[in-house]
Amino acid sequence: MEVCGSSSPTLREFGCEQNLLSRPDGSSSFIQGDTSVLAAVYGPAEVKVSKEIYDRATMEVVIQPKVGVPSVRERAREQCVRETCEAALLSKLHPRSSFTLVLQVVHDDGSLLSCFLNAACMALMDGGLPMGCLFAGVTCAINGEGQIITDPTAVQEKGSRALMTFAIDSTERRVMMSSTKGSFTVHELQKCIAISQKASEKIFQFYRDSVRRRYSKTL
């Protein structure tokens, strides 16, 4: 079984800006390499009667593609993000209310789903919503030679045999959501999960630094 090749996987440079929109309760823009996503969250707010849940808040996720109207692919990703957010948010604290998360694709250069997740987490943090844990998204691609690439670009994604995205929680580094494409062995899956857990630590450290910077008195 071929282990990840000689070059160690890297995360592209990533950055985040929070609170850049005035209307939403929380907003963020997350950038991974050239991939960029804008996220905005409203909540807790009033909810439509048809969507009301009596003991917890309703989570709604909308993904806006850059060109055209949302299609099935966006719907599937919405579900991935929504389920992750529902697991992280303490929605029991806000019964009969709604959280709305809007994600706008700004530029897609691979690892879009993980960028959605990271942007979503930063927006939820900015909105000050109660969360049991934070989450980070990491995308791994397995290329033709069996090498594992973390945070692949669009070109690397195209040339990959399998593509996996995991949402990792911050407390125990557990997998909260996984979305996979292509074929891979059990061994490769476990390896990708292990790499994603390692990579998520970088992102959690970044979250920590960004919050520290935000609430510091000097830049």
Binding site: S8, E17, D34, L38, K66, A194, S210
Partner: protein, 487 residues
């Protein structure tokens, strides 16, 4: 989600302030908010910040067949998205009044003003033309969406490059940006919309109203104009009566504002061109402010690989071996087929198999009868499954009493039942060979039991008793034999 309504005291405060020629954000009457224009990583993507209002425009091209009445003209398509990101009052996929109004105004401003040379978008007359699609996403609503959208759209169109095409006979080849440099659209002029808000029935006028000012205004005048001071469209909404000199004054103000904004767009385009030529990185990612306290950036970071292989190995080893696909114990009802769940496909095979089995059984029965006849025994109750044979046997016996007849009938019925059961079981057994052993045992046991019970209860005749006994014996003997044969 509904929008938060404006309270009466806020409304009064705003109107009083406007009456005193003051604005909430300290601007003068004719001042625009700060405009920031930035471009995305790819061509045709533009962000416009107008104060806190934020808009993104993306231009995309596609080859389509032209309209029949205009075979030489390319098609311009404008789409404004009122994303719920901009305001909680906006909903996705709903054609609201505001959306229709904005979309129509943008079309009038950019398409009907003929600012883009649509004829140059023709590839093959009547067959292939370029469709230029402009998607305008509203990201944050703080008033004056129209101006921001028009600036973003025209800037994105000027920034856009369409792929080059080559025509060889009938074939149209679209070249990728690597093969041939993409071509910019030919734009004659840049119409830009300028909005004026009127208050107190037209007594007061403000340029570039913000969200709160828009909520208390009486009427709105939108003038689209280019830098040559040509008016491309005028729209007045809100049902306010304007005087001629008011409109003239507005158009004068608009011409000044338009020339300022056009200059700004040109400057932004030039800057972007310079950066792209220099080969530097450009786009939204690079425009992220570094000095803001809310922004942070991390450099390329390697992921530690130490221990990952061991970790994965450990987990794989610790994990239970995945269960092999075990044939599921689902018993298909007679006449049904089964596919999947690790079983063999039994579509279309089921009936054939059963038929075969029946044939086999019949053969066996015949053998039985022959044996018994050979033995010359009196009782000829064979383990058959057809009623006729049973009846034949009855006839052969010495005149039974009425009671015994009905008993015999009942026995025959129950036997038939059992025979049918066992046949089904056998059909299933042939497929589930592993479970067959135990089932056989059970089948044989239960049959014995049942036969013994029913017979013993009613047996008065010792002959009958013997017959039952011998039959039991035979049933017990012959069943496993049959099973073994099948195995």
């Amino acid at each position: 989600m509904k929008d938060t309504p404006l309270s009466n005291c806020e409304r009064d405060f705003l109107l009083n302030a406007i009456g005193e020629k003051r604005r909430l954000d300290g601007r003068q009457t004719y001042d625009y908010r700060n405009i920031k224009i930035s471009f995305g990583t790819d061509y045709g993507c533009c962000f416009v910040d107008l104060g806190k209002t934020k808009v993104m425009a993306q231009v995309s091209c596609e080859l389509i067949t032209p309209k029949e009445n205009r075979p030489n003209d390319g098609i311009m398509f404008f789409n404004i998205e009122l994303s719920p990101m901009a305001s909680p009052a906006f909903e996705t996929g709903r054609q609201s009044e505001l959306l229709v109004k904005l979309n129509r105004q943008l079309e009038r401003c950019l398409r009907n003003s003929k600012c883009i040379d649509v004829e140059s978008l023709c590839v093959v007359s009547g067959e292939k033309v370029w469709q230029i699609r402009v998607d305008v996403h509203l990201l944050n609503h703080d008033g004056n969406l129209m101006d921001a959208a028009s600036i973003a759209a025209i800037a994105a169109l000027s920034h856009c490059r369409r792929p080059d095409v080559g025509i060889l006979g009938e074939d149209v080849t679209v070249y990728s940006p690597e093969e041939r440099d993409p071509i910019p659209l030919s734009i004659y002029h840049m119409p830009i919309s300028v909005s004026f808000a009127f208050f107190q029935q037209g007594t007061y006028l403000l340029v570039d109203p913000c969200d709160r000012e828009e909520r208390v205004m009486d009427g709105l005048l939108m003038i689209a104009m280019n830098k040559h001071r040509e008016i491309c469209s005028i729209q007045s909404s809100g049902g306010i009566m304007l005087l001629k000199d008011q409109v003239l004054r507005c158009s004068k103000i608009a011409s000044v504002k338009v020339s300022e904004i056009t200059e700004l767009i040109n400057k932004a385009l030039e800057n972007d061109k310079k950066v792209r030529k220099a080969g530097g990185r450009c786009g939204f990612a690079q425009s992220m402010p570094q000095e803001r306290i809310t922004a942070l950036k991390a450099d390329v970071s390697p992921v530690e690989m130490a221990g990952i292989k061991e970790n994965a190995n450990e987990i794989v080893q610790r994990a239970e071996a995945p269960s092999q696909s075990v044939p599921s114990p689902v018993l298909p009802a007679p006449g049904t087929g089964q596919v999947g769940e690790g079983l063999q496909t039994s579509w279309g095979l089921e009936e054939k198999e059963e038929e075969e089995e029946e044939e086999e059984e019949e053969e066996e029965d015949v053998q039985h009868v022959v044996e018994e006849q050979g033995r010359g025994d009196v009782v000829l109750i064979s383990d058959s499954d057809s009623e006729e044979e049973e009846v034949v046997i009855l006839n052969q016996e010495a005149l039974p009493t009425k009671g015994t007849l009905s008993k015999q009938q009942r026995a025959a019925d129950s036997k038939q039942q059992r025979a049918a059961d066992s046949k089904q079981q056998r059909a299933a057994d042939s497929k589930q060979q592993r479970a067959a052993d135990s089932k056989q045992q059970r089948a044989a046991d239960s049959k014995q039991q049942r036969a013994a019970d029913s017979k013993q209860q009613r047996a008065a005749d010792s002959k009958q008793q013997r017959a039952a006994d011998s039959k039991q014996q035979r049933a017990a003997d012959s069943k496993p034999q049959q099973k073994n044969k099948k195995q």
